[in-house]
Amino acid sequence: MVEFSISNARYTYVHDQKYPSENADMHHIILRRSGSKYIFVYASALLVLACAIYLYFLEEKSISLVYYSLLFDIFLVKLLLRKPVNKESVVIMPAFGVQLETHYMSGKVVRCFVPIDKILKPVLLECVTPVTCYWTLSLIVREESEMVLVFKNLRPPIKMLVHVWKALCAATDNKEETCTHAK
């Protein structure tokens, strides 16, 4: 049952509660396939190969140039189109923990589970690189020096991250409250 969804040009955010009785909350970020990237990469690879072949046939350069250009093309395709990610999900089970899933185009799924006791706080952080600045959602985990990134491959916009963050806060805050009551 889809409760809520937002989408923009690159990403779609879906919040659904498939198992309301089991109290599990699921949030998905789905990457929209854009054909333009594939066209661009394959077109440039073809261009490089065409230039190499032209140089070989018409300007009498050595055949090794064609081999090198083929190698370069394979390297370029592997670099830019590697391991495409289809969807990343967060399954929040307030009683147990949070499961982070990464679904690839090939059908492979990589899962990572973080027990609820280990989560100190979910945080929205701004990350600065030499060329850009973007938002990420991370979990501060007890007894670990590194934070756990919730969406490891995709960079959804802040308006989508906020909903996931609020849900995570609600799940972890409830747990903290019960802890203090128990004390």
Partner: protein
């Protein structure tokens, strides 16, 4: 009348850019920090961009909600980012759009990040202000090239600020900038932090304090000549020297040679928080710089109630009134004479009276108000398209003008390419910082914000401890 009131109350979003910022300590760093804090108090939004310092990289928040971007570009020489001309365009554009900036304020000639950021801001149509903090020469190779770079940056700047009239003269001559565009706003001192000692140190022993980097530029060689002579003439005089640098060895040799171990104390590098405690242990402050645009150290010493003896260079005569300072030529014998004169003047000096006068004369809030006037003027400057700017660059020189024009045209093309690759609409705006301080009756305490939901952990750290020691 209504229109000017509206303009007076207009709040700006300012981006301060420089290679020099906290955790470095120095004149430029302090200036940017204090000015930013006072502008935040007035209700404006201030964001600082600098390069990463070691592991300190990314977004940090300082007192008052001051957001600092430590961009991970590696410094290569003298704390300056490696100049790549166009490398910083993407990140500067991203920061300008996400923080909704309307004025870019660059600091210091010798900051490559500042020059690049100002160039990118100009090409994107933002209003630009530049503050020059030092005096520079005209004749050596390094100065000639730096002056050309400065001429390029200032050819199209909206307004400029200098810290003294001498500095204004120097900047205008070096960069061919129209003098009408340059404002003079002196630096100030945090008089709340630099207060005189509750009990004056006893005058049986006269203590002369020197706090500066021990380098050639700051006249460490003059000290080596002056100290033995003064010690010889006055058996009751002691020296305390704080600071470190390449010339420290010469001072230690001088101390050994004249057996002044019990009369000259070398403290080494003094952290900024301890400068006041060193100053209040003395009666006279000695500054022997060979060049100085404006000397904040003299302000700090005067605020602590010390009488100053200084070399008459650069903007030093403009800093404090004549009865608080004794000026000398940068010559050992003249300096010794001035120190003698200062020692005779000491009984007439009241540190508290001096401190009160400094409090009236200098305040960072005043600097912020004056800087706001400069920002208002800058915003009133007409918008210029590329062609009009290019004509200004062409007048910079026969060859240089054409090179500058080519650089700007290429920058313009790169900017449009970036607009296609990553449209401005895709860059999300960052929410403003919310601060809920425990303050009673402080105006502008809780600032306007965009989205209450985007309340991050950073604002929690602001809630914990808010020392507002600027007021």
């Amino acid at each position: 009348m209504m229109m000017s009131d509206l303009q007076q109350n207009q709040k700006h979003s300012i981006l301060m850019v420089s290679d020099f910022f906290y955790p470095n300590f120095g004149g430029v760093e302090n200036h940017i920090y204090y000015l930013s804090q006072c502008l935040l108090n007035l209700g404006h939004k201030v964001v600082v961009v600098t390069h990463a310092y070691g592991k300190r990289s990314g977004v940090r928040y300082m007192t008052g909600g001051l957001k600092v971007y430590y961009v991970p570009w590696r410094p290569f020489f003298n704390q300056n980012t490696f100049p790549t001309l166009y490398g910083t365009l993407p990140i500067i554009r991203t920061i300008l759009i996400r923080e909704k900036i309307n004025i870019v304020h660059g600091h210091q000639t010798f900051s490559t990040l500042c020059h690049e950021a100002l160039m990118h801001a100009r090409i994107m149509g933002y209003k630009v202000v530049f503050t020059d903090h030092s005096l520079n020469g005209f004749s050596d190779a390094g100065s000639i090239h730096m002056n050309k770079v400065l001429q390029f940056t200032l050819a199209d700047v909206s307004q400029a600020i200098c810290v003294s009239h001498t500095s204004k003269e120097n900047t205008v001559l070096r960069s061919d900038l129209a003098p009408e565009k340059v404002f003079v706003i002196p630096n100030a001192v945090d008089t709340a932090m630099f207060k005189p000692a509750l009990e004056r140190p006893s005058r049986l022993d006269i203590v002369i304090v020197v706090i500066s980097r021990l380098v050639y530029r700051k006249g460490a060689d003059l000290l080596v000549e002056v100290i033995p002579e003064v010690c010889r003439l006055n058996p009751n005089v002691r020296f305390i020297i704080g600071g470190d640098g390449p010339k420290r060895v010469r001072l230690e040799e001088m101390r050994e040679k004249h057996s002044l171990q019990d009369r000259v104390d070398l403290l080494g590098a003094v952290p900024h928080t301890q400068v006041r405690s060193v100053l209040i242990s003395g009666h006279i402050f000695l500054n022997s710089s060979l060049t100085e645009a404006f000397c904040i150290a003299i302000l700090e010493a005067a605020s602590c109630g010390l009488l100053t003896v200084s070399t008459r260079v650069g903007g030093v005569p403009e800093v404090v009134p004549d009865d608080m300072i004794v000026l000398a030529e940068p010559d050992p014998s003249d300096m010794v004479r001035s120190i003698q004169k200062a020692i005779t003047m000491l009984p007439n000096i009241d540190p508290q009276v001096m401190h009160n006068r400094m409090r009236e004369l200098y305040s960072w809030h005043d600097v912020a108000k004056r800087t706001k006037i400069v920002y208002d003027r800058a915003l009133k400057c007409p918008d210029q398209n590329l062609l009009e700017s290019l004509s200004r660059y062409l007048s910079c020189g026969a060859w240089a003008g054409k090179i500058f024009c080519l650089v700007m045209i290429f920058n313009f093309l790169l900017w449009h390419l970036l607009e296609l690759w990553q449209p401005a609409d895709d860059i999300e705006e960052a929410p403003d910082v919310i601060l809920s301080r425990n303050c009673d009756g402080l105006e502008g305490c809780c600032r306007k914000h965009n989205n209450a939901e985007n309340h991050k952990n950073s604002s929690d750290t602001n809630n914990i401890h808010d020392k507002n020691n600027i007021s």
